[in-house]
Every structure is written in structure tokens, then in C-alpha cells.
């Protein structure tokens, strides 16, 4: 097990390097310099600017410095647009916000989705099951960018219960709508997967044996059926995590929460390449690490996986 964990973590290093390489190549081959303005700068000024940001060096040297700075100093370089602030400072400002509502969304999606799916499977073909299936099908077509305006219309404009945007230091009123908007469709997917895998497990032979032995249903579900039924859910957690990270961009933009997504869109619109890359790489590394954690959890849960 230990060697598997070490191997799995090491195997994600090339993925990270490829991610950095791709973003760097994109930045290199982008037409136009980040400093090109409509009126055009005098060549001397441009040369000075390029020298300041190290853009006059050969590309491999730039790449090497870039990777070296990220690895050893966790430094993503200066922002091209915001003159007196580095990418690090911007990330440090936005990351805690994204992390707060992102974590809550993840927790909500898992803690609501799994029980919903499991209960629907146990009460198969009852009104409860149909209700759960209805909810999951409906939520499939309600991604975060559809949920966000709908929630704002209902809870901010009509009922006036919750603020329709802002962050205010993470007060709970400001967190609720982003969390619901971000988690709904993933909650539905988790419930759907949990339901179908639980149904499959409940029809398998070892559950029949357990029933034949006269075990109480409660014990059968909790001790025998739950663990194998959750395996497919665990595999889905990786993609769900990616989806939520990506979805945070919409949340930040729509609710003006001030997380990293907002900076990403701003950077995209103003062609601030170093900030774009910084956000992409940080999100990418988080994804890759999370996938590694999911794989390890899967190996731990499923005895059939050979380590």
C-alpha cells in the first residue's frame, strides 16, 4: 500500500510538467505581445519592458526559470496587467474564497447525493425512489450557470431572503447561494451513480446469502452493501472535483465572490498571460493531486485492485 501511494504520487509529476509545458507553449505562440497597445510603444520602451519580464531570453531559458521559480519559490512571476502586484498576491487573495465555497459544495454534493441515491435504491420502485430519480434527471440539465440566475431570482429578488452576490468575508448568508448553485448538478450525478450501483449490489449473491442467514436489513446495508456500492461513486469524485473547480469561474463571475475564477476571466479578457497561466497551473495541480488521492482511496476501498 505504501509503495503504491508513493508510486501514484510520483506518477503525477510528469502530468504536472506537461500541464506547465502546454500552458507555457500556448503563451509563447500567442500572437502579439502582452504589451502591445493600440498606439504602439516606442521600440526602446518595449525592449525595456521585455527585459524586465525576461521575455528577451531564449525560450528554453524562460521555461526553465519559470518552472524553477514555481517549484522552489512557489512564485508565478509578476502580473502583466496589474503593475504593482504579483500573481502570487492575486492568487493568495482569491484562493481562500474559492476554497471555502468549493469545499462546502463538495461536502454538500457528497453528503446529500450519496444518502439520496442509497435510500432510493433501498426503497426501489416506491414513490421515494421516483422522486429521487425525478430530482436527479431534472438537476442534470441545471448546470451551475443555469442554477445561479434561477436561485437569485427566487431567493434574492422574490423572497429577498439572501443577498444576490458579494462575499463579505464569507458570512454564511453569502455562501449559501453559491454553494447550492455549484453543487446541485454534481449532487444529482452522485445520487444517480450511488442508486444504480447500490441496486446492482443489492441483487448480488452475497447480499442474498446475508438475507438468507437472517441478518437484519440495516446490518446488511451498512456492513456489506455500502462499501462495494460506493466504489463507482469514488471514481466519479475526480471528474466532479474538476467540474466544481471549473464551475467556480461561473460562481465567481455571477455572484462577484472575488475568488480565483473572477481573476481568471479578467485575465482572459485583458490578456494577462502570466495570471492566466498561474490560475491554470494552480487549478491543474490541485486536480492532479486530487485525482491521485481518489486513486489511492479507490485502491484502499477495493481489495481487487492489485497494488
Amino acid at each position: 500500500m505504501f509503495s503504491f501511494i508513493v508510486r501514484r504520487i510520483f506518477s503525477s509529476i510528469p502530468t504536472m510538467l506537461i500541464l506547465i509545458l502546454i500552458s507555457f507553449a500556448l503563451m509563447r505562440f500567442a500572437p502579439g505581445s502582452p504589451f502591445s497597445t493600440e498606439r504602439g510603444l516606442p521600440p526602446e520602451v518595449l525592449a525595456n519592458l521585455e527585459a524586465k519580464y525576461g521575455l528577451n531570453l531564449p525560450w528554453f531559458e524562460q521555461l526553465f526559470t519559470y518552472i524553477k521559480n514555481i517549484l522552489f519559490h512557489f512564485d508565478f512571476g509578476p502580473s502583466f496587467k496589474y503593475k504593482d502586484i504579483s500573481v502570487n498576491e492575486i492568487l493568495a487573495q482569491g484562493f481562500p474564497v474559492t476554497l471555502t465555497y468549493g469545499l462546502w459544495s463538495f461536502v454538500v454534493a457528497v453528503t446529500v447525493g450519496i444518502p439520496l441515491g442509497i435510500i432510493a435504491a433501498i426503497r426501489h420502485n416506491t414513490a421515494l425512489d421516483y422522486a429521487a430519480v425525478g430530482i436527479t434527471i431534472g438537476a442534470q440539465v441545471l448546470p451551475n450557470f443555469v442554477m445561479a440566475p434561477i436561485l437569485v431570482i427566487i431567493f434574492s429578488l422574490w423572497l429577498e431572503w439572501l443577498p444576490g452576490g458579494g462575499w463579505n468575508g464569507g458570512q454564511w448568508q453569502y455562501v449559501i447561494l453559491p454553494v447550492i448553485a455549484l453543487s446541485t448538478s454534481y449532487m444529482a450525478s452522485i445520487a444517480r451513480i450511488a442508486r444504480s450501483s447500490m441496486l446492482e449490489v443489492l441483487h448480488s449473491n452475497f447480499i442474498r446469502t446475508a438475507k438468507a442467514k437472517g441478518l437484519p436489513m440495516r446490518n446488511i446495508i451498512l456492513r456489506h452493501a455500502l462499501k462495494p456500492a460506493l466504489l463507482p461513486v469514488v471514481t466519479y469524485l475526480g471528474p466532479a472535483f474538476v467540474g466544481m473547480i471549473t464551475g467556480s469561474v461561473v460562481i465567481d463571475m455571477y455572484f462577484s465572490t472575488g475568488g480565483m475564477g473572477q481573476f481568471f476571466v479578467d485575465a482572459a479578457l485583458s490578456r494577462d498571460y502570466s495570471l492566466l497561466m498561474g490560475v491554470t497551473i494552480l487549478f491543474g495541480v490541485m486536480t492532479i493531486l486530487f485525482n491521485a488521492v481518489v486513486d489511492i482511496a479507490y485502491a484502499w476501498l477495493d481489495p481487487k485492485i492489485r497494488l
Partner: protein, 309 residues
């Protein structure tokens, strides 16, 4: 005797009127099962109606999708509500452009992006997966490892960077979306190819000296089509979602063209002025369209893989 003869004749008639029993292919079986699936069939009808409307609709409206109704400009909140008299069936958007025409164009573009992007993804994914599965061994290892790496990158960000750097043309949207969504297809196709490649007819083709690429194209790919069709029907709504996501951020489709995501974005920006029609019409089309695709996909899966039900 006479009676018997009549009986014999009628029997002979009835026998000769029956054509010899025809074998039913996998496809005919699947089509039959699909036609019996009410949800899928209704979805298909709704979807076809929607596509037809989106192409016929613009001819029924006096306005086109990009010209501004100057009479309403700046007053969209009060005067832009849906009405038959001034020809704005779905109202106007914030700039006074006809919402009906815009929703029609948005529907066309969203569906087109979904279908063309999926076509790119299917071609790349099927060929990649079939080659990887067929040749196996070290090549397979390397190719699948590459897919693993690509899959663990949050491609949405790379895609947005691409749009920012190379301009937001609709062709880049097609190709970009396609090139970032073939990986699942490649995995599924590879798994299926591994199962197919030891079948006798492949062995026969190898023995007959058919070249590897011809075997892949003529013998393996056609036998994969069932699973490819099913997965394709699930990929289209996925790509429509992705495109809408990017357009919602204002980074996708370029004005004055529009798509479902861009329309929802425009509508969502103005809800505090009470112009709900700007949000609800595109939203209704988006939700209905995706519903239809998901039900059709489910129907196809049940039709091609009945044991899974």
C-alpha cells in the same frame, strides 16, 4: 376431396405469400427497441421540431437577429416585453434586438457546435482507440498513458486560453471543443476493440493478408458502431453544456452571433430590472434541448445494450 383441395390451395397460398424469413440485424433490433421507448421517441420528436423551428422561425419573424429596433432602444425593460403587435414574439434583449430571432440563431449555433464538435471528437476518439487497442503492447501503453495525462488536466482553462490567444472564431470553437473531448471515446473504443480483435473474422482477415489499417477501418470500426452511437448521443449534450459554459463567461461565441449560453448570460445580467423574458426563453430552449438529448441517449443505450436495463 373438394374441401381438401381448397384447404391445400389456401395453405399453399398462405405459404407462398410469406417471404422467406429474413434475419434481423442488430440495428433493426435496436431500432425496434428504441421505437418502443416512449420517452426517447417523444424526445426525438420534440428535438426535431425544435431544430425545424430554429430554421423556419426566422422567416416568420419580421426582425432579424442583429438589427436593433430603434423605437425600443434604451427602453427594453418597459417596452421590450413579448408582444404580437410589434413582432417581438419573445420580446427584445437589452439592446432592443429581437429575442425570438436571437433564440432561433442561438439554438442553431448551440446545436451545430454540439454536433460538429462531437463529430471531431468521434473521428479522433474512434481512430485513436481502435489503433491503440488493435496494436496493443507498448504502443497501447504509451497511447493510453497519454490519454490519462490529458484527462487529468482541467481542459476548460486551456480551452479558454486558446480562445483568448487565437481569437474567438466559431471554427476554433468546433475544433477546440472536439479536440478536448475525445479521450473518453478513445478509452471506450479501445476496450471494445480489445474484445473484438480476437474474434474469428479478424483472424480470417489477418490470415488473408489484409493490411492492419484496412482491418481497423473495414472490420473493427463497423463493429464498434453500436457503442459509438450510444456514446455520441451522450457527448452532444455534454459539448453543448461546455460551449454554453464558455459563452456564459463571455469568452465563447462572438457577438452579434449568439448561442444558448450567451443568451442565458445576457438574460441573467438583467434580471434585476424585471426583464424575465430575456432569461426564460433561452433557458426553456436550453433545458428542453438537453432533456431531449439525455432521454434519446438513454433510449439508445437501452436499445443497443438491452441487458443493462
Amino acid at each position: 376431396m373438394l374441401v381438401n383441395k381448397k384447404k391445400m390451395e389456401s395453405m399453399a397460398d398462405s405459404m407462398s405469400s410469406h417471404a422467406p424469413i429474413e434475419g434481423r440485424s442488430l440495428w433493426q433490433d435496436a431500432m425496434g427497441r428504441f421505437m418502443h421507448n416512449k420517452a426517447a421517441l417523444i424526445s426525438l420528436i420534440v428535438l426535431v421540431t425544435m431544430i425545424a423551428t430554429s430554421f423556419i422561425g426566422p422567416y416568420l419573424s419580421p426582425w432579424d437577429f442583429e438589427s436593433i429596433d430603434w423605437a425600443l432602444l434604451g427602453n427594453a425593460a418597459e417596452m421590450g416585453a413579448p408582444s404580437i403587435e410589434n413582432g417581438h414574439y419573445f420580446g427584445t434583449d437589452d439592446l432592443g434586438r429581437d429575442q425570438f430571432a436571437r433564440v432561433m440563431v442561438g439554438t442553431q449555433i448551440s446545436l451545430m457546435v454540439g454536433i460538429v464538435g462531437t463529430a471531431v471528437a468521434v473521428v479522433v476518439g474512434v481512430l485513436y482507440g481502435a489503433i491503440s487497442g488493435y496494436f496493443g503492447g507498448r504502443l497501447d501503453n504509451v497511447m493510453m498513458r497519454f490519454v490519462d495525462i490529458l484527462m487529468s488536466i482541467p481542459y476548460m482553462f486551456i480551452l479558454i486560453i486558446l480562445f483568448v490567444m487565437f481569437g474567438r472564431s466559431i471554427y476554433l470553437l468546433f475544433i477546440g471543443l472536439g479536440l478536448f473531448s475525445w479521450m473518453d471515446m478513445a478509452r471506450i473504443v479501445r476496450g471494445q476493440t480489445l474484445a473484438i480483435k480476437h474474434k474469428e473474422y479478424i483472424e480470417a482477415a489477418v490470415a488473408a493478408g489484409v493490411s492492419d489499417f484496412k482491418i481497423i477501418l473495414k472490420h473493427i470500426v463497423p463493429n464498434l458502431l453500436g457503442i459509438v452511437v450510444v456514446y455520441t448521443s451522450l457527448l452532444i449534450p455534454g459539448l453543448i453544456l461546455t460551449e454554453s459554459f464558455i459563452s456564459f463567461l463571455g469568452l465563447g461565441i462572438q457577438e452579434p452571433l449568439t448561442s444558448w449560453g450567451a443568451l442565458i448570460n445576457d438574460g441573467a445580467k438583467t434580471i434585476q430590472y424585471g426583464t424575465l423574458w430575456q432569461l426564460l426563453f433561452p433557458l426553456a430552449f436550453f433545458v428542453t434541448g438537453l432533456f431531449c438529448f439525455f432521454f434519446i441517449g438513454d433510449g439508445l443505450r437501452d436499445a443497443f445494450d438491452p441487458k443493462d436495463r
